[in-house]
Amino acid sequence: MKSVVLNICSASKIYDQTRIDDLEEKRLVPNMMLRRRLTRNAKVMLYLSDKCGFQNGKVVYGSCFGELEETVKIADSIAFKTTLSPTAFQNSVYNTASSYFSLINSDTDEILTISNGMKTSLDALKIAALQSLVHGEKVLCVAVECLNIKNIEQINKCANFLEAGAAVVVEIASDEKDAHEIKSVKFKGIIDSLQALLNVVDMYENGITKIRIEL
């Protein structure tokens, strides 16, 4: 199995116990009609990609639970026999957030969406590393979970922060000098699917800009 060394070019993270207050939607998406259609995952993703200074190129997006709020709207419509919103359905696929990113930034490049349980952000980072290795480009890797749906307490036993996300822009390093393994410090109260990427952001914020990762 093959490992590569990545430069972390930029990084950002954000989380809140209930709902992240200011995601700067009006600045990031001036078109009101489009802005109103954005899902929470999409808003968090757009915020994080902006903080990383990334607008165009290959993107790897990860989310374990995807567009939970939209899925709940569909399930409620069917269970309680109300009209099913076509917008909720189109916004329910796991690649919704990354598709809005593509739409808003006119990014016609490859965009992949990863969802692999509690490994999601680590796997997203592995695939971002592969994309950077193959194409020799900077790649945005972002992972988001928005779990703040009505009655979430019926099912949520682990996360205290119901909205959270992390992002990095990576590129293949020219050498392995000073490369670090990804730390595994637990960000208490944040869902495990985001832990690996949060650790990488934290490492970057503490001056570590080179990591080793197995593909």
Binding site: G66, A75, S85, P86, F89, T96, T113, I114, I155
Partner: protein, 364 residues
Amino acid sequence: MRAYINNYELQCNAGNVSELMDAIYKKKSALVESSDYIQGSTAGLGIMKYENIYEVLDKVVSKVLEASNLSTFENTLLILGSSVGGMQECETIFYRDKNYKNINPNKYSMNALSDYLAKKYKFYDTRAISTACTSSANALLLAKRLLDVEAYENILVVGADGICNSTVQGFHALGVLSSKKCKPFDINRDGMNVAEAVAAILLQNKKTENSIELKGIGASSDAYHMTNPNPEGIGAMESMNHALKDAKLEPCDIDYINAHGTATLANDRVEALAIENVFGARVIANSTKAITGHTLGAAGAVEAIISCEVIKHKKIPPQTNLDEQENQNITISHESKIQEVRNVLSNSFAFGGNNTSLILGAQK
């Protein structure tokens, strides 16, 4: 390093690989008109018979392992492509209980399926991709790149989606679901048929006697609309051109196109235009979704297997359920055509303008 497809199996509404190919060549659609999902209306659907999707996964994956040159999957990476993951089981519980108390969150998302397979077959590691209807095509894209850079020697790609109420009713709400059996590329088509399937493909870095090579992969984003494709077909053309470039082939090297061909008004018009612009009328194109329906996240893997079979049979399949072709500038065959099939291009397109094209070819 090259990527060889050495073994595969699937299960869909038409049966296994051999039964599906028989249905395709005989133009025997396995779609049904069901009134089980939409109140007061029928929907054309591709339905399998099973207790739960896990038993189908098990059946298909175990057959691939038995037929392979591997004794276990312990040195194999699993890449799952799925659009609904474990939602089928969870939505059934929710519709019954009207609350989440009895839902296990670990059985809700994509990893419900990959975790099941990992536990049963002890894969070296797993990945799971969910890009709606391009999910398993993108799983194949990822597999080829990992083999190209020599990160792995054995990769099993599994495309799997079971029919859910939410997908059938969601497509109905979008107004793109046909109440009858779909008519890809027909001027009177009126929508798609939701379907289900499990397909497993073993890719390895060493070829065997019956290998088909995954020669090229291409992907793009429309950046146009969440559900409608770019009307000029730019994204579809880009993904096809990227695949040709990756395979180091020219349009004239392709002998058959297995189109995405969902039979929605927008997809088929735009995809036909994109095929016309890249290939003209020289290449035979058609959609096997008239037999299988649209198996969503499994479609890329299902249609990659069909493409492999077309190369092996040296027989281009006919288009089922086509009366009057809308775009007269592309070639769609009404009958099977026996000929050498060097390379096949298979398209998959998805919500969000996510486009993926694969080129599969006979080994030299």
